[in-house]
Symmetry: C2
Subunit: 216 residues, 2 copies
DNA sequence: AGTATTTTGTGAAAAATTTCACATTTCATT
DNA sequence: AATGAAATGTGAAATTTTTCACAAAATACT
């Protein structure tokens, strides 16, 4: 029911709603949202009913109220503080990304083992890794992004969790294990590319032989 | 049946197999793979049977043969050339990532609209954006990574597809539309963080009130 | 060689997710 | 105020995906 895909759809509805709002719309119907994110209108209504979101028959949903409700459900009604561990290529790209802040995600600091990466006076400071535990405790940080090499990732994750981190977004190409009470989501870009390659091949086979292949 | 999740699992099995192989294993059973990627053994066997992969009863699967077969299914039995459009923070992080090449994914060049990003003599060169069409045609490139600002992304995608690109991995936070015969996968990092935030909140509610909440 | 044990491969069952379909409500128009 | 059209909310149906469970095969052991 309230599975990962459903939550992802809620985020997508929200993105679509912000765009519709910017376009001047005040209310929206399930088919507008369905069209925007590429699902059936009944899916939109089912998702909403799962969270007790209701609109008005014939009147649809009020955009502002809907955005507010979705933000509340998604926990985006307050600012979330995140730290980044591993300020190499990916880590520093993320640190420089300003749009997270617009979305209520504040990157408080970076941490790295390499002194060359340290920048304690920068806009978003980068501290030595041994400062991470006290930092997490002092600032009550619950979220971390891991962008260290794969061999170090599990060890870093364990350390962060022991310091109080509850949620990790991991870019190292391994599946992080974590104990009850904490959670890790893994982003594996090579896997994403591999996946894309597979579906491009399916597509090509379909062109050559439209019958023998099935849909992607 | 052969849905996206199934293909993702195949990639994961492959990763696990490489690790098991490096550890000295020669054969593997469905429960080893299941344990490694966190699914049921019957899921592993079902996935394999879907692609006509078979092992030996009581003997399991031969790791080398299995890796080879998976690579073949996933289209990883040859090197794939990729270009990157938009060599800003994310784009250049990806260009500097050496492990793609180990996995048979070769980043041939980058393209950017900003002359300050151009580097025609670099290891992986960065060319002006107007060179991208001839490059795609000349080198028969089918895959592209888009890492331009969101407002430019759809336009860039259309251009790439018209030049012959079949598969796009998109980092801009919009859902790219593309015509029949081409495919785009979207990576939305803010959505991933939002999703993580939701599940961390579910976790916290569960701690406070173990009954009223359901599993993540 | 024969027996016991382990593991696959796969239909069938179960579970999860999506889609349908329609009664009900609301809004617009006359 | 009455009528008609449009959109929601939701059980039920359909579809998809996962898990079960067990017969058949391969290996190990005696
Ligand atoms: N760069 C990419 O495009 C890309 C793509 C896919 C996956 N990844 C993955 O993301 C991770 C980071 O990649 P990258 O390219 O940024 O690598 P990188 O080498 O540029 O950065 C890694 C950083 O982590 C730091 N580090 C190492 N061990 C540490 C520790 N124990 N504690 C704190 N910091 C530590 C290093 O000093 C370095 O600054 C890797 O796991 C990589 O496989 C990167
Ligand atoms: N940096 C991140 O951590 C991050 C995180 C999430 C999402 N993203 C998304 O990834 C994309 C890139 O982000 P970034 O931080 O690397 O931005 P950036 O501004 O650093 O880089 C964008 C690059 O694209 C180039 N560009 C702009 N228009 C172009 C065009 N028409 N053709 C070719 N090149 C063009 C720019 O010159 C620039 O070099 C954005 O859509 C952003 O929303 C980035």
């Amino acid at each position: 029911m309230k599975n990962r895909n459903c939550i992802i759809r809620l985020s997508r509805y929200k993105t679509a709603l912000y765009r519709l709002k910017a376009l001047g719309f005040v209310k929206v119907f399930s088919d507008n949202l369905a069209e925007a994110i590429g699902v059936m209108p009944s899916q939109v209504r089912k998702d909403f009913s799962l969270f007790g979101i209701s609109g008005k028959k014939r009147g649809g949903y009020h955009i502002d109220a809907l955005i507010e409700r979705l933000n509340e459900i998604l926990g985006k009604d307050k600012v979330h503080t995140v730290i980044i561990v591993g300020c190499g290529h990916i880590g520093s790209a993320l640190m420089k990304y300003r749009k997270f802040e617009d979305g209520g995600i504040k990157i408080a600091a970076g941490f790295d083992i390499d002194p060359a990466k340290h920048a304690q006076d920068a806009d978003i400071p980068v501290f030595p890794i041994d400062r991470v535990k006290p930092f997490i405790k002092e600032h009550n940080v619950e979220l971390a992004i891991i962008a260290v090499p794969d061999i170090a990732a599990q060890q870093v994750a364990d350390m962060l969790i022991s310091a109080g981190i509850k949620g990790i977004l991991n870019f190292a190409p391994i599946r992080l294990r974590c104990p009850e009470g904490s959670i890790a989501h893994n982003i594996n870009l090579e896997l994403e590319l591999e996946n894309l390659i597979y579906f491009v091949n399916v597509l090509k086979k379909k062109r050559v032989n439209p019958d023998e292949t099935e849909n992607a």
